[in-house]
Symmetry: C2
Subunit: 211 residues, 2 copies
């Protein structure tokens, strides 16, 4: 695969293709045309072909794509053939929910550590992983080949903690703190702003009531 720059919009759509192809594969379907995939996913066939052309097109022939091949290839492009070790910073409700989510392991994301500043939480276990105090985080990252940090702390501390994580070798931050993080070039950030999503729903709800 070429290393050319692919737009974040295309990349953002890849997981959805991967999800639908996984379901087709599980259902025993071996081939699918771009037309049928288009109807299933409610996107145009032209969009699908354009997206796939970023990666060489995946060799559709007259009778469609090979589902298993396409699933494997998109998974590989997404980096799911590699293992990543992640820590969770913040063992509140959301941090514990994410720590308990076993499906991440199926995709190669290994839950390796969880940290909190609250001494009453330290020592408790999430899926066999003990909650550690915040002052052990630097040593833990460096000693355990951790490349991803999940940030589930309030926004007040998030910027300073993110800086510390990056300084100690974290390459990617999955950010749930309600703040935009500015990180050095080469560090990846993906933010999930739950409140923003709820507000968008609120807008659409209010607007549909107005019409």
């Amino acid at each position: 695969m070429e290393d050319k720059e692919i737009s974040q919009a295309v990349i953002g759509r890849l997981p959805r293709y991967f999800r639908y192809l996984g379901e087709l594969k599980d259902a025993g379907i071996e081939r699918i045309s771009s037309q049928d995939l288009s109807e299933l996913m409610k996107v145009t066939a032209s969009q699908i072909r354009q997206d796939f052309n970023n990666f060489g097109g995946f060799g559709q022939q007259g009778y469609g794509y090979n589902v298993e091949h396409l699933y494997t290839e998109i998974g590989r492009i997404l980096g799911l053939d590699q293992q990543h070790h992640f820590i969770i910073v913040g063992a509140g409700n959301l941090g514990r929910a994410l720590g308990n989510y076993i499906n991440f392991e199926k995709r190669g994301f290994i839950f390796s550590g969880i940290f909190d500043q609250d001494p009453t939480l330290v020592g408790k276990e999430i899926r066999g992983v003990k909650i550690m105090p915040m002052d052990q985080i630097e040593e833990f990252i460096r000693g355990n080949d951790i490349d991803i940090a999940v940030l589930t702390i309030p926004k007040s501390g998030a910027v300073a903690v993110a800086e510390k994580l990056v300084k100690n070798g974290i390459k990617a931050i999955w950010n749930f703190a309600h703040v935009d993080l500015n990180v050095p070039e080469g560090i990846q950030v993906e933010s999930v702003h739950l409140s923003d999503s709820l507000m968008k729903l609120s807008y659409n709800l209010s607007n549909s009531a107005r019409n």
Copy 2:
């Protein structure tokens, strides 16, 4: 405000404006130019003006926007001046995390009920709200003016549950189940696919390592 159709891309950016304006307001800042807002938010001033023009432009004068006014107006557009009552369907880790998140109330989203099919969870409390069994959900929605349902159940049951919710008067679904919901016209769905977000991060991490 006009009822014209505004693109979901613009609407998706409104919560971020609202967040930054709230921070400026809390910091005591009364006016800001589109140029300064542009630098703060790392989007172009032209993008800001285009976005705001969808709503009449908010009357920027030579010396910039009135922060308090803009914050209030965007909040009103987002429907945050109205109260909504929501239920959570699924009292697993994520459902409990969302039930415990008190900031939703500040924005007018009132946590009114939570449901689970697991009898060992029924009767337990999340912030004073008792977990109820799934077979009470229809009566509860109809009797308590519930307009939003937060769906935090596995994908296997999500489609059937969503249908039942809509049939009983739910107008908007905040969907965390890992499946796309097809709902009747007029019903709003906003999906948070956490795995999709993590896969996007994984792509960017793998791709930065390749380069």
